[in-house]
Amino acid sequence: MPMADRSKLTFYLLLAPLLLWLVTLIILPHVGMFIVSLREKVGVREYETSFANYAVFFNEPLYWNTFARTAYMSIASTVLTLLIGFPIAYYIAKLTRGRSKTTLFLMCLIPFWVSELVRTFGWMILLRETGIFSNLLQYVGLADAPVEMLYNDAAIMVGLVYTSMLFMVVPLVTTLDSLDDSLIEAGYDLGASGIAILREIVIPHAMPGIVSGCIVVFMLSLGNYLTPILLGGKDSLWFTGLIYSQFITRFNWELGSAFGFLLLGLSSLIVFVGLKLTRQSLGKTMAQT
């Protein structure tokens, strides 16, 4: 076999698993879902092609509101995760060395050895009416009756931030690690304050890490099902919850598929807007972290 043909064969063989994964697990199901979402049920086992399922979404305020709420809660949790994760990542990347760095990094990782379900139950043990925080408050005397801290937006937010923290910290540590310390020193030497250095040197350098961390955290929050349902209760009104109930409770696969596609469209749109606002490109962001 000639050399060129052989290297071509190697290339396709190496590419095959990726293509197989992409086509069978991502493209085919989505195409299938899209076709299902365009079917309108007009009678028993009678379907017509139309956008009726999408129209249902736009005509029902509950769906609308849940959709918008999911979006802004996800954005809020992303921003919160960034605000908490950045100092942690900066500390790990810049202010620790050698062993303590590895230890700290590992401590961020360890909670993820436990399944998300168990971790969420852990939060429920802490936050519920008969839980640890409630008892503590009563013991200290700050409350005279049991306090219910579950089933509200704050509880959802706590759960979301906790779940996605690692995915923010890892890309941030990677980019901050690559920032040369002498750039920070040069900034100080030229008379800059700590805040000016953060704004003009550290953040511009860390931008690809910030953006990729935000994208991942946002996607995880938007598509999260367990945390909002368990910590937010039946009033959590999370869009994935709506999709679930269409598919499983109401057997309305057509509407569920339409919701699925709307969620896909929403997340793509927000990521696109985010990239435009920060003047980053997806390729550059993903290549750097």
Partner: protein
């Protein structure tokens, strides 16, 4: 000329755990001088520079800039600027923003920043590059931008941390001259640290040779080269033939020694306190040794030797001789006057050097 020096260090010490990086260093640099600190890596020169810049705090001692103590002043408030080893230009900004960085931090308004940036870039010979990216410049140009970025702030002292180390040889030779020119043009005090003796010798008004955290000697390039005070300086600055000997006789400023290999040698003591019978180290520069085909009258030191090898390197060529009397090897700079062009391995030549150029140090 003003009375107060631009930079003064008084008994500066810096310890890390039980390691003394800088040990009781005192010096002062008058306004407008080019002061170099020369030393091997790990001698504490970087620590000293970082203390002057304010990134590290001395364990004890005082640091004065224009007569004012700055030990408790943070680096962003000190009137010193630093050119970093790898320059540390900000890759996220264009050249203009890099140079204007310090001015913006001082709250200078935009039009003035732009004007001053243009002016300083012009002075370093880079007019009109303000809008370009840092990565579009060559190594030497980056160097000049780094200097411009500091000089635009008009610091009292400019610190340079081996900024030529990353450049290739040709460019380094060129930048040496350019740095010196920039220094005299800006008339700012430069403190330059390096491990490369030729950088220090070419550019400096004053050089401090540093080893194991202390200054071995402070002086002009010529003083260091011709009158090294310690064995370390004699060995570190310039080349030298070294051999061990014993003092046999003293008097008239000259010492008579006997080398370990048995050759009588006459030389001058570099310090006080040598006595008859002391073990000493003798340093002779290869360029102080004269060669001749015919025997010479050897009032001072000399003899006959066989050429072991000729190390040809243009103007820096050397000959290795085997001393016929003692069997010791002597390195001699090959004169490039053409007289010894055909010198070959195995030839016999006569050599001679002055007692005044033989420096003797106490051993140990």
């Amino acid at each position: 000329m003003s009375e107060t020096p631009d930079l003064e260090c008084r008994h500066i010490c810096k310890s890390f755990d039980d390691f003394r990086a800088v040990d009781n260093v005192s010096f002062s640099v008058p306004q407008g001088k080019f002061f170099s600190i020369l030393g091997p890596s790990g001698c504490g020169k970087t620590t000293l520079l970082r203390m002057i810049a304010g990134f590290q705090k001395p364990s004890s001692g005082d640091l004065l800039i224009k007569g004012r103590s700055v030990v408790d002043v943070p680096p962003n408030k000190r009137p010193v600027s630093m050119v970093f080893q790898h320059l540390a230009l900000f890759p996220m900004m264009n050249i203009g923003a890099n140079v204007g960085f310090g001015l913006r931090q001082r709250g200078v308004n935009k039009t003035d920043v732009k004007k001053q940036v243009e002016r300083v870039l012009e002075r370093v010979g880079l007019a009109g590059v303000a809008d370009r990216a840092v990565s579009s410049l060559s190594g030497g140009q980056k160097q000049r931008v780094a200097i411009a970025r500091c000089m635009v702030l008009e610091p009292d002292v400019l610190l340079l941390d081996e900024p030529l180390g990353a450049l290739d040889l040709k460019l380094r030779e060129h930048m040496k001259i350019e740095l010196k020119q920039l220094q005299s043009e800006f008339n700012t005090t430069f403190v330059y640290i390096t491990h490369d003796q030729s950088e220090a010798l070419v550019m400096s008004d004053q050089i401090a040779v540093m080893n194991h955290g202390v200054f071995e000697q402070v002086g002009t390039a010529k003083e260091l080269y011709y009158e090294p005070q310690t064995a370390f300086v004699a060995g570190f600055v310039g080349e030298a033939n070294k051999f061990a000997a014993t003092v046999e006789e003293m008097g008239g400023g000259l010492l008579t020694l006997r080398s370990e290999a048995g050759r009588p040698v006459r030389g001058v003591a570099a310090g006080q306190g040598l006595a008859k019978g002391d073990r000493v180290r003798v340093f002779v520069r290869p360029e102080a040794v004269r060669l001749s085909r015919a025997p010479q009258d050897t009032i001072s030191n000399g003899g006959e030797g066989t050429v072991q090898s000729v190390l040809f390197n243009g103007a820096n060529s050397q000959v290795l001789l085997r001393d016929a009397q003692s069997g010791a090897e002597i390195s001699v700079a090959l004169p490039q006057t053409g007289e010894f062009r055909d010198l070959q391995q195995g030839d016999t030549v006569h050599f001679r050097w002055d007692a005044e150029q033989t420096r003797v140090y106490a051993d140990g």
